[in-house]
């Protein structure tokens, strides 16, 4: 994912988060999102990152970061400790997809997940042409991709039902613009906000 691509979901996420909220950012990378939220909305909380370079960059960005492997769960965090738990463009690379959603619902009042929409028309076209999709949101070749659990907007809606998440907001964006018409076809980045049913 390119930095410019990432900013689009960050903007949307930021618009949802009220002043002073407690936020947990799972897979926080270099901490850009939290650093921004702390500066503009005085949010408090932690980033979680497994990659040492990301942890170091987060510290350098002044973000309180906790080095943990999300796959092993969120036992470091207690029930309902956060107003928001964010998982931005990380879900598709996780092994334990269902588990992390359950954990998000446990530790946060609301969850926010963003992921590349596999149902985007360009992705569908790539497959129709006989190739695995490569795009701005899915920049990897099939043989070197970290993404193992790709899904479409509709797939994620189904999973929300399965894990007991009530969808509060659901947006699909392309190039920073919200797609309202046939979003599962025309949008390349999905952003969901949900809470425990």
């Amino acid at each position: 994912m390119s930095p410019s691509q990432q900013r689009y979901d960050f903007e949307l996420i930021s618009s949802w988060i009220p002043e002073g909220a407690r936020v947990l950012d799972l897979g926080c990378g270099d901490g850009t999102l939290l650093a921004g939220l702390a500066a503009t909305q005085r949010v408090v909380g932690y980033g979680v990152e497994i990659d040492p370079a990301g942890v170091l960059a987060s510290v350098a960005n002044g973000v309180d970061v906790i080095q943990l492997d999300l796959e092993t769960g969120l036992s470091t965090f207690g029930d309902g400790e956060f107003d928001f738990v964010i998982l931005s463009q990380t879900l598709q690379a996780m092994k334990n997809t269902e588990k992390v959603l359950h954990e998000m619902l446990r530790v946060g009042r609301q969850g926010i997940v963003t992921f590349p929409n596999f149902g985007y028309w360009k992705h569908r076209l790539d497959i129709a042409m006989g190739h695995m999709p490569v795009s701005k949101t899915l920049p990897y070749q099939w043989y070197d991709t970290p993404n193992i659990h790709l899904c479409t907007v509709k797939d994620f809606e189904d999973l929300c039902v399965k894990v007991g998440a009530e969808i509060l907001d659901e947006r699909v964006i392309t190039g920073g613009h919200q797609v309202n018409f046939m979003p599962n076809l025309l949008g390349d980045l999905a952003v969901f906000r949900f809470k425990r049913k």
Binding site: V55, V65, F77, E81
Partner: protein, 409 residues
């Protein structure tokens, strides 16, 4: 190891501070008067806000950085971490190293003369705890005119002191660097400590702790204690890689002499340690470790124990540390998160085991530096003047069995 002026705080001189105000110890006894030996590096700024206290582990002392003019090879035990341009940058921070009470490097301890008897305290030196050390360190800060420390940093038992500072003096510490530590010792940790203590007290030269009067040193016991401890400070992989099953001679000798390289190494380390360290201090330090359990008074609830803390926390563990494994640091992190404290946690990939906290590791030093730089910027101490300096040589300790003292828990 040659020390370049550029990479070191340079020649340093220990100082002493005497205290006449009695210190009531957790064990119920009182130290009527005592001295603390300490060193400082860098310059205390005008508003006295840039001080960082370094707490030592089991066998360390006040000589944390730099070297002695008359003994240039005697570099401080954390010289790679502390100095101009280093992770804890003495161009901006005023750093204090202190020898703890009960120690044997110059602060009042078992080898000191008890004014009441005119003899060394020996076995009569009271057991001191982490809480007592922190109380005495706070008095040293009073003496130095430092109301609030920018930070307290320590590894292992030193990290426990940093944590204790946040509980005992929440208003006086900005940040705690809790490295390779644990919220309390495990059963296994205590077991290792007791074997070490038994080796010392059962040495015939120990004389119930009053060996000074007999002109003896329980060197055999102390050596065994150190050999045992040393095994636990290093990872199995590292020992295997360094020494394998190498033997001194060709083939097996079929006797009990030193034969495998690891035997030679451990005996060397043990002998070296027994020459310079005090057996009573070893007992006191290991007991202080055993007793440390800040959550005990809160029914085992560490978050509750840490509730008074106002500091920001930097917690770090090392992947191959089996003495204080990462899971123990995660317990601390979990408690801090539950208490809504500010915390950063790094789990550093290092092959060396517990002693990794003393060694050069680029990522480790970078992340300590990044955190310390945030502390500096919070206090308006300015930016790092140049690139990060990671001093010392990796695994100096292992080279020709030479190297620094003061390692280990």
């Amino acid at each position: 190891m040659a020390v370049s002026e550029q990479r070191s705080v340079g020649a340093v001189t220990p100082q002493k501070a005497g205290f006449l105000e009695p210190l009531i110890l957790k064990a119920g006894k009182t130290l009527a008067a005592y001295e603390l030996v300490y060193e400082t590096y860098g310059t205390l700024n005008a508003d006295r806000s840039n001080a960082i206290l370094v707490c030592h582990a089991l066998s360390g002392g006040h000589h944390v950085a730099g070297y002695y003019a008359d003994d240039p090879k005697k570099t401080g035990w954390w010289d790679n971490m502390i100095g101009p341009g280093k992770a804890i940058d003495t161009d901006r921070f005023f750093v204090i190293g202190v020898n703890n009470l009960g120690g044997c490097h110059g602060s009042t301890g078992p080898t000191s003369i008890d004014r009441a008897t005119g003899q060394p305290y020996g076995a009569g030196f009271p057991l001191v705890t982490v809480e007592d050390w922190v109380a005495s360190q706070a008095r040293l800060m009073d003496r130095l005119g430092i109301q609030k420390l920018a930070g307290v940093i320590g590894g292992s038992l030193g990290g426990m002191q940093a944590m204790q500072w946040t509980i005992q003096f929440p208003e006086r510490i900005g940040h705690a660097f809790v490295i390779a530590a644990a919220p309390k010792l495990s059963t296994q940790n205590i077991a290792f400590n007791d074997v070490a203590r038994q080796a010392i007290v059962q040495d015939p030269d120990f004389h119930g702790g009053n060996f000074y009067a007999h002109g003896k040193v329980p060197a055999r016991g102390l050596k065994l204690a150190r050999m045992l401890g040393h095994i636990t400070y290093l990872s199995e992989d590292l020992l295997g890689e360094k020494f394998g099953r190498e033997t001194k001679g060709e083939g097996y000798a079929f006797n009990y002499d030193v034969e495998f390289e690891i035997e030679s190494y451990l005996r060397y380390q043990g002998d070296k340690f027994a020459q310079v360290f005090d057996a009573n201090t070893y007992l006191i330090m290991t007991k202080a470790l055993d007793y440390f359990d800040p959550a005990k008074e809160s029914g085992g609830d560490l978050a509750k124990a840490l509730a008074p803390a106002k500091a920001g926390f930097f917690v770090a563990s090392f992947s191959s540390d089996w003495r204080f494994p990462a899971a123990r640091s995660r317990e601390i992190v979990r408690a801090l998160v539950a208490g809504k404290k500010r915390v950063t946690y790094a789990e550093i990939d290092a092959p060396h085991g517990h002693d990794a906290f003393l060694l050069d590791n680029v990522h480790y030093h970078k992340i300590v530096a990044a955190y310390a730089d945030n502390v500096a910027s919070e206090l308006g101490l300015g930016l790092r003047a140049g690139p990060l300096v990671i001093g010392g040589t990796e695994l100096e300790e292992m080279k020709g069995y030479g190297g620094k003292e003061g390692g280990g828990e």
